[in-house]
Amino acid sequence: MYKLTLAARYLIKRPITWIAVLAVAVCVFMVLVVLTIMTGLLQEFEQKNHRWVGDAVVTTDSLVGFPYYGQFIEKLEQTDYVYAASPVVRTYALLSYRGSDWNRPTELVGIDIETFARVTAFNEALYYNREDYKNAFKPPHNTDADGAVMGVGMVATSAPDGTYQRSQFPPVFAFDLTSFPLTARGALARAGLGIVSSQQFYFSDDVQSGLAEVDTSHIYIPFQRAQLLAGMDGPPERASAIHIKFAPGITTEQGTREIAALWADFVEENSDASQAFLLDQVRVESWRTFRRAVIAPIEHERTLMIAIFGLIAIITVFIILVIFYMIVAHKTKDIGILKSLGAVRWGILQLFLGFAFLTGVAGSIIGTSAGIGFLMRINQIEQWLYENYNFQLWDRRMYDITEIPSAVDTTTVVVIALAAIAICLIGAFIPSLKAANQQPVKTLQVAQV
């Protein structure tokens, strides 16, 4: 009982321990805030990619695409692990306005909007036709004309808070999309003056996937139109990818594995087909692998942050160690007194480890409370900083976020708090052991000097 009493008194009465508590609190605060924000950004980014891609993709890097996609989709739809599948054409095109010299390259995506909306969250990302997504390719002013859905970053500019300003009704304007149609062998499909395919589209809607690189470069048009522009209209017709959504209860890994096996069988079945050589370039990937190139840098950023804060945690161990050495040195007399009163070695060790434990608990409580409080108001704080000092910590346009992620994960809080307490115990262990091993007579003599 004396251990608990004295440990609590040391914590309350010794000002030097407040420094240890403060060191732990600051460490907990920083780790909690950074980990919450970075994890939130990563999760949000992953979620956006997942929603944009679907669960898995059968895809090829070739601009030529691959044939027989329709047959494979039929096979997919017959399985019990696929909920929906949608073919997609991907190619590059030049965007230009008639009568203007201005142009820019874009990534052209041909989709069958009905099936694509079942596989991805495309329909939810539309602005004007969210409720009536089947008409997203129909310009309101002329529903018979060919419409195109543009990435929001191509038609609107974002405010510093990450929101886009749009007019109440879709603006009426037309533009040309020009592409090089390719044969199955990768050669230009046409010769002479008609070497390119060009078609006029009217703006019919914009889409905000939340992925900056997608929203500033992608234009979506109906699947068959894209096939024509890319030269994939056959025969046999070709597609660049099949996006797939799994049935409920099917994990990404499990579903991807099943589809890879199904695809291998499909390739074998079609090995004698005229364009079978294109099937060899096709691969089956989960959404995460498909978007690896953009997810990995953010993952690395988060890992780097964790590593940096891991180093801070190590520094905290040394701060605690130094503080505890000082406390033990200061408390040498107490150790001698307690031993002269019959306190055992283990009891002295427990006393100082208990003191370290209380230091860790106090630091964790303060750091966690401050961290949660800060995270709850982080967006207001940042808004205030922006309004008063024009300072923005996270560029909303770069991360394509409207709010800084601030949802605190209970498990993360518990792990950080436990780690902080463990750090205190580790930092205090050596000085505590040293204290426990001290000879009572020596400590009492030292105290007399």
């Binding site: 007399k333 007194i337 031993k339 019959g342 070695r345 007579v441």
Partner: protein
């Protein structure tokens, strides 16, 4: 006092300290016997080894050779657990510099030996009784109005009285005092010695270390320590 049996026996105690490269022989074969109820004063000049001897008798230090026996228990061969219990239950220490715990108040400083001997649950079983005894001791020593004071709020004499109360808390067989008045003025020191006289008259066995012959004269028996050995014939006073 009727029982004159040996309570503590030290036989051929040797102790050497290293001071850098030098080795200082502090005790060179000391023999000492303390009987139950005796008030023994160990006198000697500074560096004569009297405090070292007291620490060895109280199991705060170990001799290089020789034996110390408390009744039938040989302290020099005892395990750590036995020594801890000996320090907690059998011996009460009074130091020159009081050695109170600054974080605790007077009352807590007095009952801490009982806390040390008990687990958390064990302590809750005896807590009220321990507090009652600590209050009684402090009352007897004239400190009933200082229970909640911190050691730094007390005078030297008051601190020493708290230290005596703490030493008596677990009703020890032996009270070991190392220069208990060494840090006090003569008037206050005299009041402390009166407490020792009173305790002795109640049958408490006391071993006190002092360099002052006048203070030693208050004891029933004087043991003179010089250059690590007991010198001359010990003065013995009749048992009170």
């Amino acid at each position: 006092m009727t029982d004159n049996s040996k309570i503590l026996t030290a036989h051929k105690i040797h102790k050497t300290y290293r001071m850098g490269a030098a080795r200082v022989k502090v005790l060179k074969g000391v023999d000492l016997t303390v009987k139950t109820g005796e008030f023994v004063a160990i006198v000697g000049s500074s560096g004569s080894g009297k405090s070292t001897l007291l620490h060895i008798l109280g199991a705060l230090d170990k001799p290089d050779s020789g034996t110390v026996k408390y009744l039938d228990m040989e302290l020099t061969a005892a395990r750590n657990g036995q020594l801890n219990r000996y320090r907690n239950k059998t011996v009460g220490f009074v130091f020159q510099f009081y050695h109170l715990l600054e974080e605790l108040n007077v009352l807590e400083n007095v009952y801490i030996p009982t806390m040390v001997s008990k687990s958390v649950f064990g302590w809750f079983g005896v807590r009220s009784e321990a507090k009652k005894r600590a209050r009684r001791l402090l009352e007897q020593l004239g400190l009933s109005d200082r229970l909640k004071h911190k050691p730094y709020q007390l005078s030297g004499g008051e601190r020493q009285r708290v230290a005596i109360a703490r030493a008596l808390m677990n009703k020890p067989d032996l009270l070991l005092a190392d220069e208990p008045t060494g840090n006090l003025d003569s008037k206050t020191g005299n009041s402390i010695l009166k407490i020792f006289d009173e305790l002795h008259s109640q049958g408490q066995t006391i071993v006190m270390v002092t360099h002052d012959d006048n203070i030693a004269a208050r004891a029933q028996r004087i043991v003179a320590l010089q250059d690590g050995v007991i010198k001359g014939k010990n003065k013995c006073a009749p048992l009170k």
